[in-house]
């Protein structure tokens, strides 16, 4: 009772020789198929290098190309030879030249001896296969594929399209239910001979020779006809990336491969000396008796696929620069924008920092400089506070800031005085929570010591900018969480909105607010608005602000924080 190997080899012949020798020396016969494309000289040298081993044979050579019938032909011929010449072989293991045994051969023998009738072959119906390259799954079996996918892609695609248009569909031979799976299998003599000696084999071969990638479906389908004892998994650890090409193992995967307890892995990089030396040496032969467990490797490779296809949300860098709408998150983490709060409250930023566990910046987009928290001139990631540098690419400034501070919630102030260009970005960003007190920009104007005509001009400018910004926030494209109060409504009852804002930020305590920020005195603000109106401007974003100050009562003792409940 033993296992024999069929090896399909086309490159890195020296490595193939090493592995074949390893198996042969452990009393496993090996039949090697060398691709016809290998140069005669190299082939001769390869055959010669293994000539000292009497249980290594070479099967008739076919010229192999990925995705074509030739690969099945090669494995058929080699399998027939193995079964014929080594009568005591019970299991046939199909391997490639870039496979590497990870566990002692004896363990594989024991494992198979305990399961003498089991066929290890991944075999799944087409409906259940998530990994299909080129969008072809069922059509692999119903269309014809006379052209090479690698060399004649245009013809290949055109012919597929033509057949779809003409609704041509091949008849699948009676009794066959198409199954797909990894092309690396380990079958019992009984099953394999049943497949190879079936009187209907010419029919099946003829059919499969026009199926696309038949090496992933020929044995996988036919095995279902002859055996019920099928373990639908491959003993060969082989992972594929998003384009359907196999991941490659390197020296630094050593520990990972050790712990996987798989019997054979592919593909190994031919220059991975440590892997070859390590796994083919005798003293590494530790018998564990464990079941193969490729879970950890699975995770690493599926992460790689995800990184390649989805990437890290909110990251803009040299090899990830998504087109509009493909960002998968405009920024990397939630943040909060406050508009009008620092105008209305004297100490809003300090107060907010005390209330929530977040980094509270001033006006990051102020015309003078980026007001980083704590008045720093440089911030996370070495972002400079230079306004010119920031305004050169304000989107990059914001996305970088959020990316650089992953793990810490950012809050910043924003007003119509600030860089306008950022308005749409925050409106469209689902990570943004934007709270607006509309019209609050008028409060600093009210306190300013400028000529009234200048104030009027500035007020008109700011109102126009804010009105446009509010349109953006309310537009169909806005994805941010937006709350807007008019100044008049807010001043009427400031605690409730403040509570809402803090709650939304994920307050640490989730208690009622006990401390409010200090509101500036608005005595005379109503008159100020009236003056603007009298000058022909229409300040409408503040809401209906009363002439005589009704909120005055709240403002009587403006210097002291007050308690609610």
């Amino acid at each position: 009772m033993s296992v024999g190997f069929v090896m399909l080899v086309h490159t890195a012949l020296d490595r193939a020789e090493q592995v074949a020798r390893h198996w042969a020396r452990h009393d496993c016969p090996v039949v090697i198929h060398v691709d016809r494309k290998v140069k005669r000289h190299d082939h001769a040298a390869f055959v010669d290098s293994l000539s000292d081993l009497e249980n290594v044979r070479f099967s008739p050579r076919f010229s192999c190309e990925w995705g074509t019938w030739s690969l099945v032909e090669a494995s058929q011929a080699a399998s027939e030879m193995l079964l014929k010449e080594f009568a005591d072989v019970r299991h046939v293991f199909l391997a490639s030249g870039s496979c590497l045994p990870l566990r002692p051969v004896q363990e594989l023998k024991d494992y198979l001896a305990e399961r003498p009738m089991t066929n290890f072959i991944e075999s799944v119906t087409t409906e259940d296969v998530p990994w299909t390259v080129g969008g072809l799954d069922e059509e692999r079996f119903t269309l014809r594929f006379p052209f090479s996918w690698k060399r004649q892609r245009r013809l290949f695609d055109a012919y597929v399209r033509l057949q779809r248009r003409l609704q041509i569909s091949r008849k699948i031979p009676d009794g066959l239910v198409p199954h797909l799976g990894s092309q690396w299998w380990c079958l019992t003599r009984q099953t394999l001979t049943a497949i190879l000696e079936d009187p209907d084999r010419p029919t099946y071969d003829k059919y499969f020779s026009r199926v696309w990638i038949p090496d992933e479906s020929y044995y996988q389908t036919l095995v279902r006809l002859y055996s019920t004892n099928i373990e639908s998994r491959s003993l060969t650890l082989s992972k594929f990336d998003f384009q359907g090409k196999p991941h490659i193992f390197y020296d630094d995967h050593m520990q990972l491969l050790r712990r996987s307890d798989c019997f054979v892995a592919r593909k190994i990089w031919p220059n991975a000396n440590k892997l070859y030396d390590g796994f083919l040496s005798e003293n590494a032969a530790i018998m564990t008796g464990a079941e193969p467990n490729p879970g950890k490797i699975d995770r690493i490779f599926s992460k790689a696929v995800e990184r390649r296809t989805k990437g890290r949300p909110g990251l803009y860098m040299q090899s990830r620069f998504p087109n509009d709408g493909w960002e998968n998150g405009l920024t990397s983490a939630p943040y909060a924008v406050f508009e009008g709060f620092s105008e209305l409250f004297e100490d809003f930023e300090d107060w907010l920092a005390r209330m929530v566990g977040a980094r509270v910046h001033g006006h990051l987009f102020a015309p003078e400089r980026a007001e980083f928290a704590g008045g720093q001139s440089v911030f996370a990631g070495a972002l400079s506070d230079s306004a010119k540098l920031r305004d050169y690419n304000p989107e990059a400034f914001l996305t970088s800031l959020i990316w650089n501070t992953r793990g810490e919630r950012q809050c910043f102030q924003y007003s119509p005085r600030d860089t306008k260009d950022i308005g749409w970005l925050i409106a469209k960003d689902a990570n943004a929570t934007i709270s607006v007190i509309s019209g609050a920009w008028a409060v600093p104007l009210f306190y300013s010591n400028a000529n009234f005509s200048d104030i009027r001009k500035e007020a008109a400018r700011l109102q126009k900018i804010e009105a446009e910004h509010l349109d953006a926030l309310r537009s169909f494209y806005a994805k941010a969480r937006v709350r807007i109060w008019t100044l008049a409504d807010f001043v009427e009852n400031p605690m409730e909105p403040l509570q809402t804002v803090i709650d939304e930020l994920g307050n640490r305590t989730l208690h009622r607010l006990t401390e409010a920020p200090r509101m500036v005195s608005l005595e005379g603000f109503g008159q100020f608005l009236q003056n603007l109106k009298n000058q022909g401007m229409h300040p409408h974003l503040m809401g209906d602000f009363p002439m005589s100050n009704t909120v005055e009562r709240n403002q009587k003792k403006p210097r002291k924080p007050y308690l609610v409940n």
Binding site: R307, M317, N328, A380, A382, S400, L401
Partner: protein, 333 residues
């Protein structure tokens, strides 16, 4: 239409390279020792003698098989030193660096002649290539993987490294790893836009934008580079190694949300040697955009600047750069 127009641009640079080849004279030509699968490094230099020993040993260690240098009239022994190395071919010229489009014409010619079908890494003597797994897998592993993935060009952004303290505080000595001194960098202040004509990304930022160009960011030097290319004789570098033609080679980034694999060129420009170099280069006026960059340096260098700040990041390894989002493993695992 545009691609047709760019075809003519590419042809123009090819013809120009052909013309500029006359400016080059061979010092040592060992290119016949280049074997079919060898990985090459190409570089132009002027008076970089002190950097060369570490440069050569760094890239030999990575698995580079042959170096091709264009020496632009060095007088510090660089040329003689290189000529003595067994794996180096050197050409020399006294012609204008600027008029050879900052060396691109010379390198285009030599690449066309000697690098066809080879993986070529085009770097300056102060640029050190770091890529995913570069501590455990050599350059051959990367190029084999790129070949298997049908990728022809590989991007590596320039990352300016600087010391803590003034530039002249820690003198660099020959053979030393420059990143023992200049081990700090800016982790996240880069700005990217797309170059619509050539399709490459245009990246600016880092300490140079922060310290030298805060008032004129448009002038801040470009940091995007595509240094590693499976060369074909029809390819040309357009402007330094920032972009190439045909345009498809510039698509080293993903536009659909995913990340392609990329590396970083650690830039050891800011060492004790920098002050002298900046003066010399300013005098020669051989650099891009009327040497604007070097004028800005000279201006700031008078105050002996410290590029380091509280938020500077200390370099550890490529994994750190990948976590920070400066480079990516893509789907290489």
């Amino acid at each position: 239409m545009r691609s047709y127009q760019l075809r003519w641009v590419r042809k123009r640079w090819r013809v120009r390279a052909l013309r500029k080849r006359r400016e080059l004279s061979s010092v040592v030509d060992r290119t016949e020792t280049i074997k079919p699968h060898d990985i090459l490094v190409m570089s132009t230099l002027r008076n970089e003698r002190i950097r060369l020993p570490f440069f050569l040993s760094y890239y030999r260690e990575l698995g580079v098989n042959h170096f091709i240098f264009v020496d632009n009239d060095s007088d510090d022994g660089s040329r003689e030193y290189l000529a003595d190395q067994p794996d180096v071919s050197v050409w020399t010229t006294k012609a204008s660096y600027k008029r050879a489009r900052f060396g691109a014409d010379w390198l285009n010619w030599l690449a066309r002649k000697h690098a066809h079908n080879h993986w070529v890494l085009t770097v300056d003597p102060d640029e050190f290539f770091v890529y995913p797994f570069s501590d455990t897998r050599n350059l051959r592993a990367l190029t084999d993987w790129l070949d298997a993935s049908s990728i022809k060009s590989f991007g590596a952004m320039l990352l300016d490294m600087y010391p803590k303290g003034t530039l002249d505080a820690q003198p660099y000595h020959e053979g030393q790893n420059p990143f023992e001194i200049a081990c700090w960098f800016d982790a996240g202040n880069y700005m990217i836009s797309k170059n619509p004509r050539f399709g490459n990304l245009w990246i600016q930022g880092g300490p140079r934008a922060r310290a030298f160009f805060p008032d004129n960011p448009a002038r801040a030097p470009a940091l995007n580079k595509i240094p590693l290319v499976k060369w074909h004789r029809a390819y040309t570098y357009v402007s330094s190694t920032h972009n190439l033609l045909p345009r498809g080679l510039n698509l080293v980034y993903d536009e659909w949300g995913g990340e392609k694999a990329s590396g970083v060129l650690l830039h050891a420009k800011f060492l004790s040697t920098f002050g002298h170099k900046a003066e010399e280069e300013l005098e020669r006026r051989q650099h891009y955009a009327a040497s604007h960059e070097y004028r800005a340096y000279a201006e700031k260098l008078k105050d002996n600047p410290d590029l380091w700040c509280n938020w500077s990041e200390k370099y550890i390894n490529w994994r750190q750069l990948e976590i920070l989002g400066l480079m990516s493993k893509g789907n290489w695992a």
